[in-house]
């Protein structure tokens, strides 16, 4: 099967019923994408597929084949962090940061689509994510500031 992840092509031989999350983490070693619930309820596994924030834990790997997959490892441009990553650092918008990859990927997708979202639009885009450390105030501030800075390109 052919997978295009972070602009790199990979040929993988895996069972068709495996999830994209499982293949990313175990076959490609991209462990920045996290397992949180396996049911699409917590958002920790979020990646971008053709620019859309997608729960990789409930996405069959077959449905992602041939499409443009982006994970947290591919978001920065070399050493230059994506504006959302930069904003999460600036606001310390995390504690344990296990959920952070997912929040950042959804935020990046939002700002790509809508560079100046309202607070309600930010909250709505991130309502499927759980941060159990409760860094929500900071996450909201980080995404706000990334959008004011011009956001995602």
């Amino acid at each position: 099967m052919h997978l295009k992840v972070n602009d790199e092509s990979h040929e993988v031989t895996v069972d068709a019923e495996r999830t994209l999350l499982s293949v990313l983490r175990h076959e490609l070693g991209l462990t920045g994408t996290k397992y949180g619930c396996g049911e699409g309820n917590c958002g920790a596994c979020t990646v971008l597929i053709d620019g859309e924030a997608t729960r990789s834990c409930i996405t069959p790997v077959t449905s992602a084949s041939g499409r443009d997959i982006k994970t947290i490892e591919g978001l920065a441009n070399g050493d230059e962090l994506h504006p959302v990553q930069e904003a999460f650092v600036e606001h310390t918008a995390f504690q344990c940061a296990y959920c952070t990859s997912g929040f950042i990927m959804s935020s990046a997708a939002l700002l790509d689509r809508n560079p100046n979202p309202s607070d309600e639009q930010i909250q709505s885009a991130l309502s499927g994510h759980i941060c159990r450390c409760g860094a929500y105030v900071r996450i909201l501030n980080a995404v706000r500031s990334a959008s004011c800075n011009g956001g995602a390109k």
Partner: protein, 679 residues
């Protein structure tokens, strides 16, 4: 995963006990002297602690403290945490104690290193040490002449220095880093996916294990057929040892699939306890309560009281539900065991593994990975499971819990039932306080935390009983602190409302504790308590709390509509003495508020017959970004007072403050949590 290494080429070693306190506590002795800090010949500073990083930012706090004492940049300090082969013995990252007992000792170690460097420079420059100071990684003359780099001073040296008893740490006015908000030194690894959590640890040749779980607590294996599981492609072995059954496979998905393919028949004990009858059962199944305090004469105080109030309160089991489910990797090298885990107590885990396998502790190395949240759970059990499987197949094995296992087989915060009886005189002073708590779980010490009242009252009985628990009770942020505070602070509003007094005035008139009073006054003023505007569907509540040596007061505004309650605004007064990293402390307090809000409004583990019924986020409601209130934190502590805990105290009064606010909005007393299902 690469193993952490001790620095080579060490030029200066600072030795001291791992913990230190101005006011030593016999329950936490300082420990045996060990290497706390080294500087190598290139000037690289490394500090060692048995604490772990599970989100609280302690690596950053320690680095700031050491960098400030040594006058170097914060990112030039390396912190090695939670590796039992490299760091001093530690009792575990609990009780919000890292900054109070270890951070201060690392400051003293760094101060010792600074004095040593100054002495070296004085000898070399042939000047008096008192004419020198440190600045930007150099020893410089106080009159501003050229400096000498630390690396230069240490090149070729091999010194070992004990921390002198009288070493002085920097005065507050000399701080360059401490006390100012700081970015975390580990921030970039956390926003790029580079940080390695226990779930991410991979070692060469590693296999994947999955445990067969019984259908309910206490179930015994009666019959098993593993033939189908053994035939699953990728399965290496099905391991059975009594009721312990696990599959080891080349891939995690194969292990999961194979466990599903095991046919097993269980004999269930089907305990009659459920979330329906547990409030009363906790009292029925309790041991005799232990009195923590029995002062004055309660009977005559109640007899002479103007008014007596008596209520029962209940707090359900809640799940820690940290985002990273438990995981552990175990590798055997002959009779030596190495475990990578997410446990907050690596030494306790090492000791339990040694005991389980009949090893010396020196044969076991436990390395804490980055930890994706804990809040008290993440027990050694998952490491025991991984080590048993690894031994059986003679290969490294990782066991990673799935979310349902985490909800069903990890520990939960104990449910508790409280009986509170109070008497007040005609002037509104509390004259009698009789408090009995029945906490689920065999460890009564958990339920004792926060049980005592901070209010002025002469006739007091505080008693706590451990009660048989149908679920696996464990630690949760503040242990019994949050649950005890719920009962006490809701009861305080019960009295205030009964007497027709303002909840703020009633508390202040019964409180002489200066630091708590300062928190309460600051929170109320910032909140605008006196000018709060009564509107339909809006309520205001407050509560105070103490925990881990710190003090807090919280004022809350809620909106209640259509059987839903929303926390709109929270103002927190907080006193933890010296705040090392104000942004870090604020982050912890905000997180405590959000977490406590979940326990107040929605969270409860539903169970029946030993089975957890809501083992997933679809059925267990936790706070989300759409629920987030505006949170304002006012620090009221004195920088000259040593740091106390900041990770837990924020959670202790919040559920009561929210309950009091909902009562203010609806007129109905809240005596049980969670609130929303009862609206």
């Amino acid at each position: 995963m690469s193993e952490q290494q001790s620095p080579a080429d060490v030029a200066l070693t600072i030795i001291g006990t791992p913990r230190w306190s101005l006011e030593p506590d016999p329950r936490t002795p300082p420990g045996d002297p060990a290497t706390l800090l080294t500087i190598d010949g290139d000037g690289v500073i490394t500090a060692f602690s048995g604490k772990v990083e599970y989100g609280q930012g302690i690596r950053n706090g320690f680095a700031m403290e050491i960098a400030d004492e040594l006058d170097v940049a914060v990112d030039s300090v390396r912190i090695i945490l939670g590796d039992t082969d490299l760091v001093p013995q530690d009792r575990g990252t609990t009780g919000s104690a890292s900054t109070r007992t270890v951070g201060i000792q690392l400051r003293r170690a760094a101060a010792t290193a600074r004095l040593t460097l100054i002495d070296l420079a004085a000898t070399r420059l042939e000047v008096g040490a008192d004419s020198l100071k440190t600045q930007d990684g150099q020893v410089v003359s106080k009159n501003g002449s050229d400096g000498v780099e630390y690396a230069d001073l240490l090149s070729g040296q091999s010194l070992s220095v004990d921390i002198p008893d009288a070493v002085e740490v920097k005065a507050v006015e000399d701080f360059q880093l401490m006390g100012r908000p700081a970015r975390r030194i580990d921030a970039v690894s956390r926003v790029t996916g580079a940080a390695k959590y226990a779930q991410d640890v991979v070692v060469p040749g590693m296999l994947y294990g999955k445990i067969l779980r019984p259908p309910s607590y206490g179930a015994k294996l009666a019959q098993i057929d593993t033939a189908r599981a053994e035939r699953v492609s990728g399965v290496v072995s099905v391991v059975q040892d009594g009721d312990f059954v696990g599959v080891v496979a080349e891939r995690e998905d194969a292990a999961e699939y194979a466990v599903e393919a095991i046919r097993a028949r269980w004999e269930e004990s089907r305990d009659t306890a459920s979330d329906w009858n547990i409030p009363a059962l906790l009292k029925e199944r309790a041991e005799e309560p232990t009195a923590l305090r029995d002062d004055g004469d309660l009977d005559s105080a109640f007899a002479s009281a103007e008014r007596v109030f008596e209520n029962t309160y209940y707090v359900p089991y809640v799940s820690n539900a940290q985002m990273e489910p438990s995981a552990s990797v175990a590798r055997w090298d002959g009779d030596h065991l190495t475990v990578w885990c997410a446990n907050r107590g690596p030494f306790a885990e090492r000791d339990s593994l040694a005991e389980m396998f009949g090893l010396e502790t020196s044969q076991v190395r436990v390395i804490a990975a980055e930890i994706g949240g804990s809040f008290g759970t993440k027990t050694p059990t998952v490491s025991h499971e991984a080590a048993r499987l690894a031994k059986a197949v003679d290969a490294p094995v990782r066991v990673s819990y799935d979310r349902a296992e985490e909800f069903g087989w990890s520990t939960v915060r104990p449910a508790a039932t409280f009986e509170v009886k109070s008497g007040v005189d005609a002037a509104g002073k509390i004259v009698a306080w009789d408090y009995t708590a029945f906490h689920a779980g065999e460890n009564a010490f958990r339920g004792q935390r926060g049980a005592d009242t901070p209010y002025d009252v002469d006739n007091v009985r505080i008693a706590v009983a451990a009660s048989e628990s149908p679920l696996q009770s464990g630690s949760y942020r503040s242990l019994g602190g949050a649950t005890n505070h719920f009962a006490r602070e809701v009861h305080m509003d019960e009295i205030a409302i009964g007497l027709g007094l303002d909840p703020l005035e009633f508390r202040l008139s019964n409180l002489s504790h200066a630091r708590l009073t300062a928190c309460l006054v600051a929170a109320a003023e910032t909140f605008g308590w006196a000018s709060r505007e009564k509107r339909p569907g809006v309520g205001y509540g407050l509560a105070i709390g103490y925990d881990a040596g710190s003090f807090t007061a919280q004022c809350v505004e809620v909106a209640v509509e259509n059987q839903e309650a929303r926390v709109v605004r929270v103002v927190v007064g907080f006193d933890c003495g010296l705040v090392v990293n104000p942004d870090g402390a604020r982050n912890q307090i905000e997180g405590s508020i959000v977490m406590g809000m979940g326990t107040a409004l929605w969270e409860a583990v539903e169970f029946d017959g030993g089975r957890v019924l809501n083992a997933g986020f679809a059925r267990y409601r936790v706070p989300r970004i759409t629920d987030t209130p505006e949170i304002e934190v006012v620090f009221t502590g004195d920088d000259d007072v040593p740091s106390s805990g900041a990770g837990e105290p924020g959670i202790v009064p919040i559920a009561a403050a929210i309950a009091n606010a909902v009562r203010d909005a609806t007129g109905t007393a809240i005596e049980e949590l969670p609130i929303v299902p009862r609206l």
